[in-house]
Symmetry: C2
Subunit: 569 residues, 2 copies
């Protein structure tokens, strides 16, 4: 099943949710004319469909292979990656000072969406490099920026994030990798990192590892962590002492090598500090927040691909007459009400999640232009984008399998790959439970609660539907309740609250789009579907989320009414 | 992770949901003393844990292999299957006239649950044979019964169901396989069947295929279908002309060979008619209804196994201090509120689905004792058991992956296998959408609506919680609305209605169990967990289901407000 880039949808969301014209009215983004935006959308879609999508099944079936410390990508990947570099697709929203085109981040988002929709596993190499770029821009020295930024931006080199160790997953502060000063400004890195995406491969000549480690005498926990840059190939052309000792056998994203990296086995792994000593956690949050929005975007990627595939199958597969129909002739299954319900749900959830995530990226662009309120809003929306976006991806991929019936369970069809691939997204870059904890722990109280209050006010000023308005009221009431609760009660309600708030935001932005679609000129089929998806979201998804209120308010007492051991009884 | 049979839970549900004592009070089941019930529960659990569970990972990793028409099972499967036969585990609830022990069906259910929890893919051979047994008991001649029943009951031979053809999936009436009389009472079978579970393997000396086919001049559609019995090895010891031409490469249940069977390539495939000519659909429903309840049971199997595995991991994995806790020492993740929320949800959903499905099997036993109302209730509950039971299985398996964090996505952990294995269950034996159509199309109107009215009356007579009572009211109102609607509107609301009704039944039976658990003697840990699971189900799962009311009532207008082609816009 080929990939058909949703250009009309992307442009509509940029226009009516992101407000791209407001962004491009700013002198910094003046180069992004409306024609250029169209050209990027068309071009990125065509590139992804032409170069990345055809490799998606091979990425799954052959996958990245490890032998003797080397990782070999499936045939065709090196050429496609080279085409990405040569096409300049990595440069769109990077700073002009380092060879970027300086266009709004949200346009980089569209490109990332296209790449991941075409080939999620492969696109992780494109997704993680920007985290390294952000870290260097935020905290690197001029020399570090000069050395690395240009090649990271084009993609000639890729970046990796090295946080996790076997005993230090969600609890990053438990990491043990050490960094010992050599005396000449460098550090010897020693330790083992796991779950390192594209930590080794044969697509680029160099790999730039960003590594969290502890300097001698550093305080325990997260306060004692520093960030280091460790290139696979050093400036003098010698190889650093870092080795890929294995890759994981995973349920999905087989095209993405998930590496165990061993640093300093021979005490010859040299790295440089980025930013101040003990500045590792701050730097990590710079990397993570970027990555979290992008993981949320992966939810849309697979949702879009799974929907396209299911629609294609449902239009071709002929089975059974329509119940109550005029004839007994079998019809395409898209004509059956419950199949159509599944497809409309897929469309509505995908569009709702896209609206929320594009909106968040649009706020990030405003923040980069100096709007502090926009930064607060991004901070508030990041856990929603990551957690709800990936939950939507999983649900839609599952519906995609279901629409295929028995063929959905057969690997050759491809629907199963989407279901397997996306299941990592609620887990990595902070599990969705960690996102929910971030929402109720850090984000609810941000600025004394002002960012949430402002968001609720914006939603309330525009929302029309009584059910949507009731959900916004519920969200406000639950937030007030959780803000006044102790940590256990707050965390017990965190996940259902995150879903409620996400659906409220999605409903707000979908209702707006439906209203606009009723009054603008454009492709009648696209506009009709936008209206139907908006009606479904507001009329049917929103009431479901209201059903989570009891859970969000339930508190922790029941959870601890039994001993841990009783769970095994 | 080994399998720990949930004997206390199984016995509690048999006592307080099934009413096993009422069944065994009947003279036909007098042999099933309370001690014998305990012995079967303990013995079946130990057998499944000892023989089937250790093969579960190999079943996934090696899987069934096809070569030259033969299917080879992984090492150890033949010995474990032989132990099943020799242990007499297939005979428990089979009729005494054919070597069975004549005990209540619901005890066979417990055994089936244990086998499938231990090894879902493998256990399909045990699950499908009873469908063949039921068909022969319902419609076979004395000679057919004498030839086949004994060996099917012990499991020396296994049975298969041959319905599906490439163009005939949900629409069974579209099948093309032919059966031509030979003149001496036999039929020559010719055609291709797909998705045939254990259609070929090396575990037994013979395989008994039940095949739907058309006789010459048969009417089109389902009215022209007849059922045939086609043994792999004929009575004279010669092989029938049936060949396994391939097996599918599936997302899960790799231990279960899913075969393409070609009948009569050399015009030498001989079968016998079972039951009357054109009696195929009636016979199919006998097979299917049995199988549908058993597929629902698979939902519990994986839910149970995934829960056990997640609880085990969460008790061992140490990560992060408890938020707001007295110390900064890291704790087992089961101590964190959101992990505990996931685990309690897994327990509550698993127990709720087990209650509904065991209850349905208990009603089947009453029906076999001549209770017509009980048969109506089984008919009503069968689509709920199949669809909601398997939806629960998928959700709980997904939560199990999530509890494992990054390790959940790594295949060696085993959590991913459960997630992949169970995804077939909402699809086969009639997709869950077909179940929802069956519920609103056939079952709502059954007996003028009396079976549903009786179920609602029973629930209302016992339910205490205001939210649960409100859901029962909603279910009644939605049912009345759907019963008065046209087919499109009815089908558009069918799936959310099915979930609402299922959760109402689950809530009714869980609330009852929670009440009983508060007043009986027993293992304090088990009883405390039962009460907590009941409170979670009634207090938090029930309100979610109420949130589906808008969808159930929405009708089909929105679904058809756009052309099919617009879904691809």
């Amino acid at each position: 099943m080929s990939y058909n880039p949703p250009v009309s949808e992307q442009r509509f969301v940029l226009d009516h949710v992101v407000g791209i014209n407001e962004l491009t009215a700013h002198e910094r983004y003046a180069a992004a004319t409306s024609d250029m935006v169209d050209a990027i959308l068309e071009g990125a879609g065509a590139f992804a469909a032409g170069e990345y999508a055809p490799l998606n099944r091979a990425g799954d079936e052959i996958g990245a292979r490890w032998a003797d410390g080397k990782v070999t990508m499936p045939p065709g990947f090196r050429e496609a990656y080279q085409a990405f570099v040569e096409g300049g697709w990595g440069t769109i929203s990077a700073p002009e000072a380092y060879g970027g085109q300086g266009l709004p981040n949200v346009l980089g988002t569209v490109i990332m969406e296209d790449l991941g929709t075409a080939n999620m596993g492969f696109s992780l190499i494109n997704m993680l490099t920007p985290a390294a770029i952000e870290s260097l821009i935020a905290a690197g020295t001029d020399a570090q920026r000069d050395t690395y930024l240009g090649k990271l931006i084009t993609g000639e080199w890729n970046g990796t994030m090295n946080l996790t160790e076997p005993q230090a997953g969600s609890d990053v502060g438990a990491l043990r990798t050490t960094a010992t000063p050599t005396g000449d400004g460098l550090y010897r890195i020693k330790g083992t990192k796991i779950f390192i995406t594209f930590g080794e491969h044969d697509l680029t000549d160099n790999i730039v590892h960003l590594v969290l480690a502890r300097t001698p005498g550093a305080p325990a926990g997260t306060r004692g962590i520093s960030l280091f840059i460790v290139p696979k190939v050093r400036a003098d052309g010698t190889h650093n002492d870092v080795r890929c000792v294995s890759i994981e056998h995973k349920m999905g994203i087989h095209a993405s090598p998930t590496c165990v990296l061993s640093y300093g086995d021979n005490d010859d792994c040299l790295g440089e500090l980025i930013g101040p000593e003990f500045g590792g956690m701050a730097a990590m949050f710079v990397m993570m927040n970027n990555a979290r929005l992008n993981v949320g975007l992966q939810g849309i990627q697979i949702a879009e691909r799974a929907t396209q595939q299911a629609v294609g199958y449902a239009m071709e597969r002929i089975q059974s007459a329509r119940a109550g129909g005029a004839t007994r002739d079998p019809v395409a299954i898209i004509e059956h009400p419950d199949v159509r319900r599944m497809l409309l749900r897929m469309k509505a959830l995908t569009q709702g999640a896209r609206a929320l995530i594009y909106y968040a990226f649009g706020q990030l662009d405003r923040a980069h232009l100096g709007d502090a309120d926009a930064q607060d809003r991004v901070d508030l929306l990041t856990p929603l984008a990551k957690a709800w976006g990936t939950d939507v991806g999983c649900e839609v991929a599952s519906l995609g399998v279901q629409v295929h019936g028995g063929m959905g369970f057969i690997e050759e069809t491809g629907a199963a790959q989407h279901y397997r691939d996306i299941r990592i997204a609620p887990i990595y870059e902070g599990t969705n439970g960690i996102q929910a904890a971030d929402l109720v722990g850090r984000k609810l109280g941000l600025g004394g609660g002002a960012p949430l209050a402002a968001l609720i006010a914006d939603m309330r000023a525009e929302a029309q539907d009584a059910g949507l308005r009731a959900l916004i009221d519920d969200v406000e009431a639950v937030a007030a309740h959780l803000a006044g609760s102790g940590p256990d009660d707050r965390l017990a309600g965190s996940y259902p609250f995150l879903t409620m708030l996400s659906v409220a935001v999605g409903g707000w932005l979908m209702e707006r789009q439906g209203r606009i679609a009723a009054g603008v000129d454009g492709d009648p089929a696209f506009l009709a579907m936008k209206r139907a998806a908006a009606d479904y979201f507001v009329g049917q998804v929103v009431p479901e989320a209201a059903g989570l209120k009891a859970s969000a308010l339930a508190g922790a007492e029941l959870l601890y009414s039994v001993d841990a051991a009783a769970f095994a009884a």
